[in-house]
């Protein structure tokens, strides 16, 4: 199965076998294109996707020594995400599918993340997923392929977005998540009192904008040189985020156990899963709750195409039919259509 991913600022292609062997994969980050703008510019992203994607596909095909005629299908992310990029991946995938009369699979990007643990190792349903990235912050109960219950989502920023914005106001450049984590490693997380948004509140939605504003006010109030306070503020922010994620996830575990009594696994996915503090705190939570903890390898935490090909293989195995060449692209595409929209949630929820 050929997988294509173009929903945000990574262009990716991968070939995955039905048994889960990733035969070849390429990811091209657009960081250099977007860095001068301090964030992802949709039109720049779309332009970069269309000039990179066919090269990446040619590379994975060459590495695998496979012809297009030997493929079992083509899978492309068709939502949710930035519409211009989604169109590039969808149209390219459909064109390849048409050329060799292959089944075309229109894949939900979030489903790719949610099914990634099963690409890595056997992970029977049900399991609870905390999906944390630049565009998403959701708690999802995966009941089976194609059946997901969204237990919580963010009512304002995605968690990775909060990392990037705080890093920006600390002058760490873009993308700021990894830089902020490095800075925080030298800091004292207890020095600054920062809010824990929604901590202890019912439900398992997230909110990060108040925390971000608190960091902004504290940063503006500092008079000493940056070395005297920045690392402590970064560490405080990271600790507050981790504590919030743990609190919300703990509540989701209770809810999920009600819905799926056999629940025995907690999974973290998405780019923020690369943060070592977040991972460690979630691993602690899983241990305390008696759950097995899975975190995909870092290359499959961020956006990638192997998870898109894998999601198509999972859907095929579960008996879903492939999609039409007229399948739409969708900027919004909730994984759980029955979930009520969270108040204030952005386009990605």
């Amino acid at each position: 199965m050929l997988g294509l991913e173009t929903s945000c600022d990574e262009t990716a292609a991968a070939l995955v076998r039905a048994d889960g062997v990733v035969v070849a994969e390429r990811v091209r980050s657009q960081l250099a294109e977007h860095a001068p703008f301090g964030g992802v510019v949709p039109e720049i992203a779309a332009r970069a996707h269309v000039e990179a994607l066919d090269h990446l596909i040619a590379q994975v095909m060459a590495e695998a020594g496979t012809g297009f005629g030997q493929l079992k299908g083509v899978a492309a992310t068709t939502g949710p995400g930035l519409i211009g990029g989604l169109m590039v991946g969808a149209v390219t995938g459909k064109a390849i599918a048409l050329a060799h009369r292959l089944p075309f699979w229109a894949i939900n990007h979030l489903e790719g993340h949610v099914l990634t643990p099963r690409l890595v190792a056997p992970a029977p349903f049900p399991y609870l997923v905390l999906l944390v990235s630049g565009g998403h912050c959701q708690l999802v109960l995966a009941e089976e392929v194609g059946r997901y219950r969204r237990l919580g989502t963010t009512i304002d920023d995605a968690v990775g977005e909060a990392f990037d914005k705080v890093a920006k106001l600390l002058g760490l450049g873009y993308p700021g998540g990894p830089a902020l984590e490095r800075l925080a490693s030298a800091g004292d997380p207890a020095r600054f009192a920062l809010p824990r948004p929604l901590l202890g509140r019912p439900g398992c939605h997230f909110s990060f904008s108040g925390l971000k504003t608190a960091v902004l006010h504290l940063a503006r109030a500092q008079t000493g040189s940056a070395e005297t306070w920045q690392a402590d503020l970064a560490a405080g922010f990271q600790a507050a985020v981790a504590e919030t994620l743990v609190d919300r996830t703990r509540r989701a575990v209770v809810l999920a156990r009600d819905m799926a009594p056999g629940l025995d696994r907690l999974v973290v996915a998405g780019g923020v899963a690369a943060n070592a503090t977040v991972r460690a705190r979630l691993a602690d939570l899983a241990a305390a709750e008696g759950l097995t903890f899975s975190a995909p390898p870092l290359r499959w935490c961020g956006d990638n195409a192997a998870m898109i090909a894998w999601a198509a293989l999972e859907r095929a195995r579960a008996g879903f039919a492939p999609d039409s060449l007229e399948a739409p692209v969708r900027a919004r595409w909730p994984l759980d259509p029955a979930a009520e929209p969270a108040i204030g949630a952005g386009i990605k929820a």
């Binding site: 001068p36 703008f37 301090g38 964030g39 510019v41 039109e43 720049i44 779309a46 332009r47 269309v50 000039e51 994607l53 066919d54 090269h55 596909i57 040619a58 297009f68 211009g84 989604l86 169109m87 590039v88 969808a90 149209v91 390219t92 995938g93 459909k94 064109a95 390849i96 599918a97 048409l98 050329a99 060799h100 009369r101 914005k165 920006k168 106001l169 873009y174 971000k212 504003t213 902004l216 039409s324 060449l325 007229e326 399948a327 739409p328 692209v329």
Partner: protein, 222 residues
């Protein structure tokens, strides 16, 4: 040959054998180009009884036009070229509009570039066929009118804008960009010695930079 275009409001597909168009299909609605273009090609192939493998060359309308539409055509062209291992020929929409120029008038191709601008080109020795000499940017209609003297025949989605700027010396001709027109230009170019290119050489003719301001120059919103 497979030709297609979706730089404007319409997406269209044509299959051409020799100089004969054996199938043509079109649909309106720019919002659905990404959904509909490949299916439209599929339908035209079925109508002609052709297989994708029977195609020998792709002629792609590469713009200028809407960023999104142009990009969809290019993504389709690059995807098909890669999967079928076939070469491509990029066709400028203004060449399609300038084909078979009006007698006794300077023919002007005017594509609506939005925000009051035009992507323009006109017939005459200095312009014909050589895309390097096209205005590589959007121009105000008044600037186009000032540069092209005499009686005009204006064609394309921006024809009315240009005619308004040029006054009574301009007549609007009902010509728009179609895949059959893209194929006609491609065949003409091949007849004149144009060389086909690999799909990876196909790039959208945006002719305008993205609207984005570097972070240092913008108001920082947190």
């Amino acid at each position: 040959m497979l030709a297609f275009d979706c730089a404007g409001d319409e997406r269209s597909v044509a299959l051409v054998e020799g100089e004969r168009c054996v199938a043509e299909a079109a649909a309106a609605g720019a919002a659905r180009h990404a959904e509909g273009l490949i299916a439209l090609i599929d339908g035209a192939l079925a109508e002609a009884g052709w297989t994708p493998a029977s195609l020998d060359i792709l002629a792609v309308g590469a713009g200028p036009g809407s960023f999104t539409g142009v990009r969809i055509a290019v993504a389709a062209g690059r995807g098909l070229a890669l999967a079928l291992d076939r070469p491509v020929l990029a066709v400028d929409g203004r060449d399609v509009l300038l084909a078979r120029p009006a007698p006794g008038r300077t023919t002007v191709a005017a594509i609506d570039a939005r925000r009051g601008g035009l992507y323009a080109a006109w017939s005459g020795a200095a312009w014909s066929g050589d895309e390097a000499t096209y205005a590589a940017t959007a121009l105000p209609p008044g600037a186009v009118a000032a540069r092209v003297p005499g009686p005009l025949a204006v064609r394309g989605s921006g024809a009315a804008l240009l005619a308004a700027a040029a006054g009574p010396r301009a007549v609007v001709e009902p010509r728009h960009i179609t895949a059959a027109g893209v194929a006609e230009v491609a065949l003409g170019a091949l007849g004149n010695g144009a060389v086909t290119q690999p799909g990876t050489s196909l790039v959208p003719r945006y002719l305008r930079a993205p609207d984005a301001v570097p972070a240092s120059a913008s108001v920082r919103a947190v």
